[in-house]
């Protein structure tokens, strides 16, 4: 479907916080546009001070997260042909900022919480000697997590944060992926399980898999990161057989 020349209406969040309102704009579309192109067109033709955060425009930096027709997505990877098709005829396309984070202005939110949590996570600690050796299968599992572009769409989607605002007790999907990536690193020697259980609250996740559904990098956040972390927490805290085994072998672990 060619959209060239089609006039399209948008409703875009304008303003700050409680005072923000949906403002309507109309622009002419071109072929092959993505939503971010449309926002830029609004900026360049009508509203220069419209705030939008973006960088690479190729789905690699994760800056342009927003909620398009109520569905959180990267604006740069959302094709207009798809959005036009899903929007009820005659109604404007709606673009809102991510709702789980403090609002800054227009389409921009304050995602600094994610960085604050990341800072509390112990980094990789491996052998002192360089030229580490591990195989591709071991690398591959971790590389999957490292494809994360930190768009924070998963955090915005997670109901623990979005609906219940448990920013105090839960690290959010992105940082659980980071924890998984460290914990499963073949040569990492650090133990983060007590923090994963307590400080980072992996048990708050009730595996409804919305984070996985929304991930633009295709990371199976719930199945590959969070559930394996939960299983490791079960190993240490909830499995009586393992407790007995540890008692017999005299293996000490941090609790």
């Amino acid at each position: 479907m060619s959209l060239k020349g089609r006039k399209q209406a948008f409703r875009v969040t304008r303003g700050v916080g409680d005072a923000a309102e949906m403002e309507e704009y109309e622009i002419e579309l071109d072929e092959g546009m993505v939503v971010l192109d449309c926002v830029h067109r609004i900026q360049h033709e009508q509203q220069p001070d419209l705030a939008v955060r973006w960088n690479c425009k190729a789905g690699k930096c994760g800056s342009c997260s927003a909620e398009i027709n109520g569905r959180p997505r990267l604006m740069c990877m959302t094709r207009m042909s798809d959005v036009v098709a899903e929007t009820p005829a005659g109604t404007p396309i709606e673009i809102r900022p991510m709702k789980a984070f403090p609002h800054v202005k227009d389409l921009v939110t304050d995602v600094s919480w994610n960085y604050e949590v990341a800072q509390r996570i112990a980094p990789v600690k491996g052998p002192e000697a360089p030229n580490w050796e591990f195989n591709q299968a071991e690398a591959h599992r971790v590389q999957h997590f490292r494809e994360c572009i930190e768009c924070f769409l998963c955090v915005n989607t997670c109901h623990v944060l979005r609906d219940h605002a448990r920013f105090d007790a839960f690290a959010g999907p992105r940082n659980l992926v980071r924890l998984a990536q460290y914990e499963m690193h073949p040569l990492d020697e650090e133990d983060r399980l007590p923090e994963i259980k307590n400080e980072f609250g992996v048990e708050y996740c009730n595996i409804t898999r919305c984070c996985t559904e929304v991930c633009p990098a295709g990371i199976r956040i719930t199945d590959d990161a969070i559930i394996p972390l939960k299983e490791r927490v079960v190993d240490r805290y909830y499995d009586p057989l393992q407790r007995i085994w540890r008692a017999i072998t005299g293996r000490k672990v941090r609790m």
């Binding site: 900026q43 960088n55 690699k60 930096c61």
Partner: protein, 618 residues
């Protein structure tokens, strides 16, 4: 003039930019005990480094044990058309392997060889497989590694802050002034050393692979502070950017596609690269399709190549110009590019080795690259030119000001080899951080000169107070279109002269635009300020291009289509600013040190012998 409030900060080392080079510099400075801050226009980990796809060049010798720093040094010098600073090329080739190993210890998880060490892939201009990589998202891996290391080094991060002015005291740099993009507030920093790590300038062209940040901030700050730039005429047009649909035009298609066996075709289904092997590379690339197919079969199965590599893996300048020539000759693809085909590798290999290319084409162009050909064309990708630095310390010609990464210059000469940018970041990022911290050790904290700060702030606020004027976005679009048309991949005297006039006009328009009055996250205001750097930096590139009357590497003159080895092969263009006006002069290259000449000869002999052996066998 009313006084604006601002916040004062004091550090030993300020790093401007949080890409690979900036983070590496900051980590090193902090490790040397310097109180360090990073100021970045974006959020942490969003810098353009994430767009680097193919890999990081370092002669680890894991994939082919014949590789060594000598061969890497030779390849870099040859790729640069011998304009690179040979001291930097030497340091780079020698130190890159250690920097890569260090990244691994900080958590980077590179692809592995069957013997469990870091795997390396082939790339244009590299004699041996040399690029440590993670699928096709190596840049993301490197920036994430540095970011995750950096936050544990006690570095203060000022995210979404833009530096607009370097504070000076006499000749030396003593800090900087920045505005917060979110709140529109102002900050003055006292710093004993300032490291520029702001990346490149490619946003000055319409078809580019760069993000909005690539507006040449560091180049401009250096010019304004009295530092010198070199090699500004050399802009790398990456041969393979997307060309369709229009909104994604310019987005990078990694060279890794060709490293993994990708073939370039014109509309007549010819592998045209066989016809474009320049004299300098004649004899060391495959002559026939069979030979090139055999090479691909060998290297993708992890064996050492016994034949010569496909001509698709010539250096970027050569491939970009070849595609350009095919399009001009009427043999281009429907949307004005060439066809790039990787489908013969099969879906599994593509999904494993080039996953983000697969998704990029699938999602943005509706093309399944495991079945269909890609349409690709040149895109402004990298500026070899930049701030002139000391090869050992990365200090610029202004005391206290350092530069590293793309904003610095010297390593890449007239053309950069793919994969050498990521290694450039970590090698010279470390050096810049180290020497910036060393310099800071012996200095007292410089005072902040309020008059300079207020003058800088007044300049920043001015666009908001104009009341009326053009939308800066429009000027931005038009200026980039002009640069694309007149200072693009093929240049002529006439157009370059026009561009000089046009840029003056654009700068005047930029100084009269009106982005609204809001200070909070006002994208238009930010753009209005960026336009000024872009105009100055574009002018530097244009002047240098106008002066260099020859074709070499990333600079091609239609009116001087061949290299002029006698004069221009021995000279560099140096650009600087005096009282708001750009000046240019030429400087003669320093002859390569004797032992390095011997290294070059040794490697050349080795390559020649190998090519004869491989060519003779088929």
């Amino acid at each position: 003039m009313s006084k604006e409030p601002y916040t004062e900060h004091e550090y030993d080392v300020i790093v401007i930019g949080a890409g690979g080079a900036g983070l590496r510099a900051a980590i090193e400075a902090a490790r040397q005990g310097a109180r360090t801050a990073v100021i970045t226009k974006s959020l942490l980990g969003k810098a353009h480094t994430v767009m680097a796809e193919g890999g990081c060049a370092a002669s680890l010798g894991n994939a082919d044990d014949r590789d060594s720093w000598k061969v890497h040094f030779h390849d870099t010098m040859k790729g640069s058309k011998y304009l690179a600073d040979w001291r930097m090329a030497e340091i780079h080739a020698k130190e890159a392997p250690d920097r890569v190993r260090e990244l691994e210890q900080w958590g980077a998880v590179f692809d592995r060889t069957p013997t469990h060490v870091i795997n390396q892939r082939n790339f244009g201009g590299h004699t041996f497989p040399r690029l440590a990589h993670v699928g096709d998202s190596t840049g993301l891996e490197i920036i994430r590694t540095l970011q995750e290391r950096g936050i544990h080094e006690g570095i203060d991060m000022f995210t979404e802050h833009t530096v607009r002015h370097l504070l000076k005291e006499g000749e030396r740099v003593t800090g900087c002034v920045a505005y917060g993009r979110v709140k529109g507030d102002f900050h003055a920093f006292s710093a004993k050393s300032v490291v520029l790590a702001t990346g490149g300038i490619t946003r000055c062209w319409t078809v580019c692979s760069g993000s909005w940040e690539y507006t040449g901030d560091g180049h401009a700050l250096a010019l304004w502070a009295g530092a010198e730039l070199r090699d500004m005429e050399f802009v790398q047009f990456h041969p393979t950017g997307m060309v369709w649909p229009p909104s994604v035009r310019g987005i990078l298609v990694t060279e890794g596609v060709r490293g993994e066996g990708g073939r370039l075709y014109n509309s007549e289904q010819q592998r045209f690269m066989f016809d474009y092997v320049p004299a300098m590379f004649r004899g060391d690339h495959a002559d026939t399709i069979q030979e090139s197919d055999q090479w691909v079969a060998e290297v993708v199965s992890g064996r050492q190549a016994t034949v010569r590599r496909p001509p698709e893996l010539l250096t970027r300048d050569v491939v970009a110009k070849a595609i350009n020539a095919e399009v001009k000759a009427g043999r281009g693809s429907p949307h004005g590019g060439a066809f790039l085909d990787i489908s013969h590798r099969g879906k599994d290999a593509i999904l494993h080795k080039l996953p983000s290319m697969y998704h990029q084409f699938k999602e943005l162009a509706g093309v399944d690259i495991s079945e269909e050909m890609m349409e690709v064309g040149p895109t402004a990708h990298y500026v070899m030119g930049g701030v002139r630095v000391d090869p050992q310390t990365q200090e610029t010609t202004v005391p206290g000001l350092f530069a590293c990464g793309e904003v610095a210059s010297g390593l890449h000469g007239a053309n950069r080899l793919g994969g050498n940018s990521l290694s450039d970041l970590i090698v010279f990022g470390k050096r810049a951080g180290e020497h910036a911290a060393k310099r800071a050790k012996n200095l007292a904290p410089p005072p902040i000169d309020e008059a300079q700060v207020q003058a800088a702030i007044a300049e920043m606020v001015e666009p908001l107070e104009r009341g009326e004027g053009e939308n800066p976005g429009r000027i931005y679009d038009e200026m980039r279109d002009m640069m694309q048309a007149k200072v693009g991949i093929i240049r002529t005297k006439h157009e370059l002269e026009e561009a000089v006039d046009d840029l003056r006009a654009f700068k005047a328009r930029a100084q009269a635009c009106f982005p609204g009055t809001d200070r909070r996250y006002n994208s238009g205001w930010h753009q209005a300020l960026d336009l000024i750097n872009m105009a100055d930096v574009s002018m530097a590139a244009t002047l240098a291009a106008l002066t260099r009357e020859e074709s070499r590497g990333g600079h091609t003159r239609d009116d001087f289509p061949t290299p002029d080895d006698d004069h221009w092969g021995q000279h560099l263009n140096i650009v600087w600013m005096e009282e708001g006006e750009l000046k240019i002069r030429q400087e003669r290259l320093e002859p390569i040190r004797g032992d390095l000449v011997a290294v070059l000869d040794e490697v050349k002999a080795m390559i020649k012998a190998r090519a004869e052996e491989q060519g003779g066998a088929r």
